[in-house]
């Protein structure tokens, strides 16, 4: 089974039924899986803070939401995380591609990578980092934890986790 299928299996098993996505090359496989699952309503967003708004509404309507996004967008979501998700105490698992780590071919991606964990730390967002495929074994517990504590929780997934970018 591919790692993308396993991740989406865990998402479905956690009862998550509303997923918004902003694409990243690393996340293409998992986004395809999300799109293909009947159990999930998939709504692509144009921007990550917009997606967090959709998730907030879906949560209040009785759904369990999740956002899939790239770490470069952390900056544009800070206000939304603080004044919506955290202020109103809403759960939001964030599956994030951690661009700019080892095996990254695009130098500019490193510029946000160096801020990623610091920003999440500053926001007091529980953060997990998947570096090896076996790290994903914790995903079911992380999702359970998110809906237990009603907080945004970040899952950073780097290039090594996804198997690199092929011939670079």
């Amino acid at each position: 089974m591919s790692i993308s299928s396993k991740i989406v299996d865990d998402i479905v098993a956690a009862g998550i039924d509303f997923v918004t996505t902003v694409p990243c090359k690393q996340l293409a496989g998992v986004i395809d899986e999300v799109e293909n699952r009947e159990e999930i309503f998939h709504i692509p967003s144009n921007k990550e803070d917009e997606g967090m708004g959709l998730c907030a509404g879906a949560f209040m309507g009785g759904k369990k939401p999740l956002i899939i996004m790239q770490n470069t967008a952390i900056g544009v979501t800070i206000n939304t995380l603080a004044t919506l998700t955290q202020f109103y105490r809403m759960p939001l698992p964030m599956l994030i591609s951690y661009r700019g780590e080892l095996r990254e071919p695009v130098s500019c991606q490193v510029e946000m990578a160096v801020h990623t964990k610091a920003l999440l730390n500053q926001m007091l967002i529980p953060t997990y980092h998947f570096h090896k495929e076996s790290d994903a074994a914790e995903l079911p517990e992380i999702l359970k934890y998110t809906f237990m504590c009603n907080k945004p929780v970040a899952i950073l997934t780097d290039a090594s986790f996804w198997g690199g970018y092929g011939d670079q």
Partner: protein
């Protein structure tokens, strides 16, 4: 008419529906005019009233009205293609367009100049887009609810504010009360 006068007029229509109300003065005005458990007041996060409303409408069957402003739509313009491509027939987006950033001192917005939000919404693929005058907002809103078709209303009105207090209710209380009303 100014925004608070429109809200006062449409309050009896809003009361029977789930309402997501925009940050700042719109929420303070609605809270003062007719506080209801079915109102979700945004205390922050400019621009996301339409996104929260759409997410809520897609998640359950009750009618949802997002009260938004022209400035907030301009802040989150990407919302309109998302709305157009994810039709929720229990969703009405009411944009009160006074051509200004009311909560921050009535600075003019581009919607009050050359930019037509109705044209933008149509170009984004929204199918039922109605621009109306302030005094007709109640009638247009009621028809949109009755039609059971997703509708975007742009209500053109005057710029201006009234003096009123901030909302002191705790956000978690607002959210909990609202979620109980959604389930009821």
């Amino acid at each position: 008419m100014i925004r608070s006068e429109i809200l006062r007029e449409i309050a009896p229509i809003l009361r029977d529906n789930l309402v997501v109300c925009n940050i700042g003065l719109p929420s303070q005005e609605l809270h003062m005019i007719d506080d209801q458990p079915t109102n979700f007041y945004m205390l922050g996060t400019m621009g996301l009233s339409s996104s929260i409303g759409l997410g809520l409408a897609l998640a359950q069957d009750k009618t949802v009205i997002s009260i938004d402003g022209d400035g907030s739509i301009l802040t989150n313009m990407g919302t309109l293609p998302t709305i157009a491509n994810n039709v929720a027939d229990n969703f009405v987006l009411l944009i009160i367009d006074n051509g200004s950033y009311g909560s921050t001192g009535d600075q003019p917005t581009y919607a009050g100049k050359k930019t037509s939000l109705a044209a933008v919404a149509s170009a984004c693929g929204c199918e039922n887009v109605i621009e109306c005058q302030d005094k007709d907002t109640g009638e247009v809103l009621q028809k949109a609810i009755n039609s059971k078709q997703m509708t975007i209303i742009i209500s053109k009105c005057d710029s201006g504010n009234i003096k009123l207090p901030v909302i002191t209710m705790d956000p978690v209380v607002i959210r909990h009360r609202f979620m109980e009303a959604v389930k009821a």
